[in-house]
Amino acid sequence: MAWKPDNKIGGGEHIGRRLFNESKLSGAPDQNPWKGLAIGNFIEKRGTFSVDRLGRTGIEKPVVEYLKLRCLAHEASRKDSRFDGWAYLKPSKIVEAVSSPPVASEIRTQDNAGVDEDWDDANPKQNLYHAHVVIPEGTDPLLFAFRFREKVGTEKGVYPAPWIKLQGAVDSEQRRKMIETAAYYLAEKRGFEPGHETEDWAAAEKEIDATLKG
C-alpha cells in the first residue's frame, strides 16, 4: 500500500527530479564516456521546477511503482530519451542549493481544456506525489539548474529506475491514457499551439508502443 501524502512536505521526505539519458550529440559518437548528469534534466524555463515526492524517510517502492506509468509516459514524450530514475534530495538540501523549498502541488482535477476530470489513479496526468519548487524571480534558469545538479552530486542522491518490462502489463485504457499524457507533453512543448493534435497523438502512440515493447 503506497503512502498517501498530505499537503505539507515533511523534513525527511525524499524529493526526486526525473532523469533522462540526454547527454548525447549526433555528430559526436567518438567521445570518451562521461558519467555526469546532463544539465538539461534540471532546466525549467516556466518558473516552477517539477519534482516527485518519493517517500517519507526514504524512497518507498510502492510510490515508485505508482509513478512508473507516469515516468514512462513522460519518457515517450521526449524523443531518444530513456527514463533513468531520479536525482533526489531532502527538502533542507534543496533550500541550501536553490534558496527555495519544495511545495506540494495541488491535485490536478481539470484537463488541459479546463474540463473537470474525476480522480483516477490510472491517469498518468494525475499524480498524487507531484510537488514543485518555485524558481526565485530573476534567477537564471541555467544557474538554478546548475546549483541543483551540483547539490545532487555532493549528496550522491541518484535512484536508478527499477526497469520493469511492461509488455502485457498495461491494459488498453492505461495505454490510451499514457498516449494522451505523452501527447499532452508534446503539445506543451510548443505552447499548445493548435493544429497539431493528430500529429502529436500519432507521435505519442508510436513512442508509447515502442516503450511498452521494451
Binding site: E22, K24, L25, G27, G36, I39, I43, R78, L143, F146
Partner: protein
C-alpha cells in the same frame, strides 16, 4: 639575497607559488639566464603560466588547445540539415549554434580546463562539460551567448558571455573571470 626573478620587457608574467617575478631585464640572454636561475632556486615550487596575462602583455592569442580540431569536427557533424528526410533521430544543433560555438572555441580553447564532453539540450543549445582536478565547469552555448558555470571552493561562479559583436580578446577576458578561479591544470602545468 633576493631570487633572480625576471620579467621579459613587460611581456611575460611568471607566477611562482605566492610571489610574482617582476624585475625587468635588458635582453633575451639575461632574461633566460635569470629565469634558469630562478627555476633552479625554486625547484620545489610549481610554475603557473597565466594565459590571460600572456594575452594582456603580448597579444599572443594564436595558440589553440590540441583538442580544438576534434571538437569542431564533432560540432560541424552535428548540424541539422533542414528539410532532409534522411536525418536520423538524435540531438542535433542548428548552424547558428555551431557557428557561435566555433567562434567561442577559436577564441578561448587554450584557456579552457580540458577537452569538453559535448551534448545537446532538447531546446537546441550546446552543452560542453569540462573536468579538471580542481572541479568541473559547464558551458552552455546558444546562438548568441555562452554561459559558464563552475563551483569553486563551494561557491558557484556564473558568467554569461555575449558572442555577437564581441571580440575574441573580450571573450577571453570574460571567461578568465571563471577559469582563473578554477585553479586548473593547463598545458601540462599544474596550478599551485
Amino acid at each position: 639575497m633576493p631570487y633572480p626573478t625576471a620579467d621579459h620587457s613587460a611581456s611575460v608574467s611568471f607566477v611562482l607559488g605566492t610571489s610574482t617575478a617582476s624585475a625587468p631585464t635588458s635582453d633575451d640572454a639575461t632574461y633566460r639566464k635569470a629565469l634558469d636561475e630562478y627555476l633552479k632556486a625554486s625547484s620545489t615550487r610549481r610554475l603557473v603560466i597565466d594565459a590571460s596575462a600572456l594575452d594582456r602583455n603580448t597579444n599572443i592569442t594564436n595558440t589553440v588547445a590540441p583538442w580544438l580540431g576534434a571538437v569542431q569536427r564533432r560540432l560541424n557533424a552535428s548540424i541539422r540539415i533542414d528539410g532532409s528526410a534522411e536525418m536520423p533521430e538524435g540531438p542535433w544543433l542548428s548552424k547558428e549554434v555551431v557557428g557561435s560555438a566555433n567562434v567561442f572555441f577559436d577564441a578561448t580553447s587554450n584557456l579552457l580546463p580540458s577537452e569538453p564532453y559535448l551534448y545537446g539540450l532538447p531546446t537546441g543549445e550546446l552543452v560542453a562539460e569540462f573536468d579538471s582536478n580542481a572541479g568541473r565547469m559547464t558551458l552552455i552555448v546558444s546562438k548568441d551567448t555562452a554561459t559558464a558555470l563552475a563551483t569553486v571552493e563551494g561557491d558557484v561562479v556564473h558568467k554569461s558571455i555575449k558572442l555577437v559583436a564581441n571580440t575574441p580578446a573580450a571573450m577571453r577576458s570574460e571567461l578568465s573571470a571563471v577559469v582563473s578561479r578554477l585553479r586548473i591544470k593547463q598545458d601540462g602545468v599544474e596550478a599551485g
